[in-house]
Amino acid sequence: MSIFINHGTRLVVQGITGRDGSFHTKQMMEYGTRVVAGVTPGKGGQKFEGKVPVFNTVADAVAGAGANTSVIYVPPAGAAGAVMEAADAGIKLIVCITEGVPVMEMTRVMPYVAEHGARLIGPNCPGLISPGQSKVGIIPGNICSPGRVGLVSRSGTLTYEVVNHLTKRGIGQSSCVGIGGDPIIGTNFIDCLSAFESDPDTDAVVMIGEIGGTDEQNAAQFVKDRMSKPVVGFIAGQTAPKGRRMGHAGAIISGSSGTAEEKMAAFADAGIAVMKRPIDVVELIKKAR
């Protein structure tokens, strides 16, 4: 199995005709993801790559193509609206890749998504992949391999670095989820850890955090209290200065809170094996299993 996406995922791509949307849709189709529909208002009736029907609205894509999962590549100004449209259309898993969504808009998106019983991943995230089954987002499929290690991360390319180490050493993954680098995100570490804990095909979990906020500390507490599977962790930003936004909107040490030291200490306290370098994931996962 896997978490959140699998062979049954029927994907609608919001913003399918845009530059990023079309590029990544092709990649997802090549990987084997069942892309059943696209949405671009005003382009309903067209076909993407000659086979994927394009609709004007997500509701039409659900009715006309049976989409159950959405991925969003629309520009920041329209991204919050796109998430709410997907939730309103009955989509239960919404993945928002877009970077630069105003945080104030996210404060209104979150309760709306919750009311509609949907799960949002992102925004500002690379999406997720269940190797060999489905990929939703932009994680390169060729660096992943099917297996039994779950991975959850706030980062994009750092995730690729870690996954690549695992794959090269023959350690496959059940699912890899990029939850995003913004201060307000739909799915957090605990949501993913909890899903991996219940997934019969995941044996161990890699958690990749970074400076800013308290999500990692809360996740560490969850691991301590509720998880039976071993967890290996990494925190990026040990050399980051205080008060500066390190690329990700959420990667900022506010005052003296949210430092790498604090998070690594919380990991260690929860029995999470802490990686000093990305490559350490291999030895620590081998030891943990």
Binding site: F23, P76, A77, G100, V101, P102, V103, M104, M106, T107, R108, M110, P111, P126, I138, I139, P140, I143, S153, R154, S155, G156, T157, L158, T159, Y160, E161, N164, G181, P183, I184, I208, E210, I211, G213, T214, D215, F234, A236, G237, Q238, T239, A240, P241, R244, R245, M246, G247, H248, A249, G250, A251, G255, S256, A260, K276, R277, P278, I279
Partner: protein, 379 residues
């Protein structure tokens, strides 16, 4: 993006928050004129994005307009924590009975705005939060409904006993909340909110930070950015579409992705080096970004070697290699460059680099060890 105090005051004033009149001056003449108009004793305050202005001599009391002029002349042009003061705020010196703190932050955990108010105002609120958290009242506002009247009153009652003052403070809470939501703030605070001996309640100092993600759709807010308040290299990087933060070390870093960029800096430190910067060239495949990145990094004389760490996904590694080649054609790079790249179009990238006599490594640890070794040898 942090606003200057005078800009924050203007936002609050436009929302109706009561405060003393004042003015911004860029010259001693202007400061004198404002002080004369205000009459009485005034305070001259340096406008820089830095705490500890008072300790640095950037805040002075002036008993006359002439004295205001003298202080402004001393403060303008002064450097506080590396930032040059180009404007001063001139406000009347208030007679103060009490000082309170009223702040509103975007809270990650509750996923919405949270008020923090305390009758212990005028001081560093983080210190209060650390030493005596019981002195701070916190209230999470439901972003769907906004700040409800009874909530505003509750916060105001935690600060004042006199009902007239409570009503004024409650109105100020509502006004601050409106400023916060209407401008996409990540922080809006009044510190201190004062009461005067005659019972008036008004805002003395204000601080506002805007979520950077708002700036694209809000040119009015983007126009408030003061480039002189930032390191020139960071301004140049932003204009080139790069995220760059200057650090104190000597290993220049060019990386794609924020998380990997931080991990690269950490690994430089792990192998005994010191990173000179954080730099994320982003996910796009634009060789120009690489050229600009190299230009910015090589303009820092402290940089002794440069490390590229590229994990190709959306970023095509051959585009990065082309960027390096173009940069080396355009301007001299007098420090060694170590390149690690792997992923999309790696073979093409290696070929491009070989064409200009460079080699590429595919392993991150190997590359970092190598660049740190080079810097140590040069020292």
């Amino acid at each position: 993006m942090n606003l200057h105090e005078y800009q924050a005051r203007e936002l609050l004033k436009a929302a109706g928050v009561p405060m003393f009149d004042g003015g911004v001056a860029s010259s001693p003449d202007e400061a004198e004129a404002i002080a004369r108009k205000l009459g009485g004793t005034t305070v001259i305050k340096a406008q820089v994005h830095s705490g500890g202005r008072g300790k640095a001599g950037g805040v002075k009391l002036a008993k006359s307009a002439e004295e205001a002029r003298e202080h402004a002349a001393a403060i303008l042009g002064m450097t506080i924590k590396g930032l040059v003061v180009s404007k001063v705020l001139v406000v009347p010196a208030a007679e103060i009975a009490t000082e309170a703190y009223v702040g509103l932050i975007m809270d990650r955990a509750s996923q919405g705005p949270v008020f923090m108010v305390s009758s212990a105002g005028g001081v560093d609120i983080e210190e209060v939060a650390a030493k005596s958290p019981e002195k701070i009242t916190r209230l999470a506002v439901d972003p769907v409904y906004g700040l409800l009247p009874h909530q505003a009153m509750g916060l105001a009652f935690s600060l004042y006993k006199d009902y007239a003052q409570v009503k004024t403070a409650a109105r100020i809470m509502q006004q601050l909340y409106r400023v916060f939501t209407a401008n996409g703030c990540s922080l809006a605070e009044i510190n201190p909110l004062v009461s005067t001996p005659t019972g008036e309640v008004l805002a003395l100092d204000a601080k506002v930070s805007i979520d950077d993600n708002e700036l694209e759709r809000r040119p009015d807010l983007a126009a408030l950015r003061d480039d002189s308040a930032e390191a020139p290299s960071e301004v140049a990087a932003r204009e080139a579409g790069l995220t760059f933060i200057k650090l104190d070390g000597n290993v220049g870093c060019v990386v794609n992705g924020a998380g990997l960029a931080m991990a690269t800096m950490d690994l430089v430190k792990y192998y005994g080096g010191e990173p000179a910067n954080f730099l994320d060239i982003g996910g796009s495949s634009n060789p120009d970004k690489v050229v600009n990145a190299l230009r910015i990094i090589t303009s820092d004389p402290a940089v002794k070697a440069i490390l590229f760490n590229i994990f190709g996904g959306i970023t095509r590694t051959d585009d990065v290699a082309n960027g390096i080649r173009t940069a080396l054609e355009k301007f001299p790079v007098n420090v060694p460059i170590v390149v690690r790249l792997t992923g999309t179009n790696e073979a093409e990238a290696v070929k491009i680099l070989q064409g200009i006599g460079m080699t590429a490594l595919s392993d991150m640890d190997e590359a970092v060890e190598k660049v740190v070794g080079i810097v140590k040898e040069a020292a």
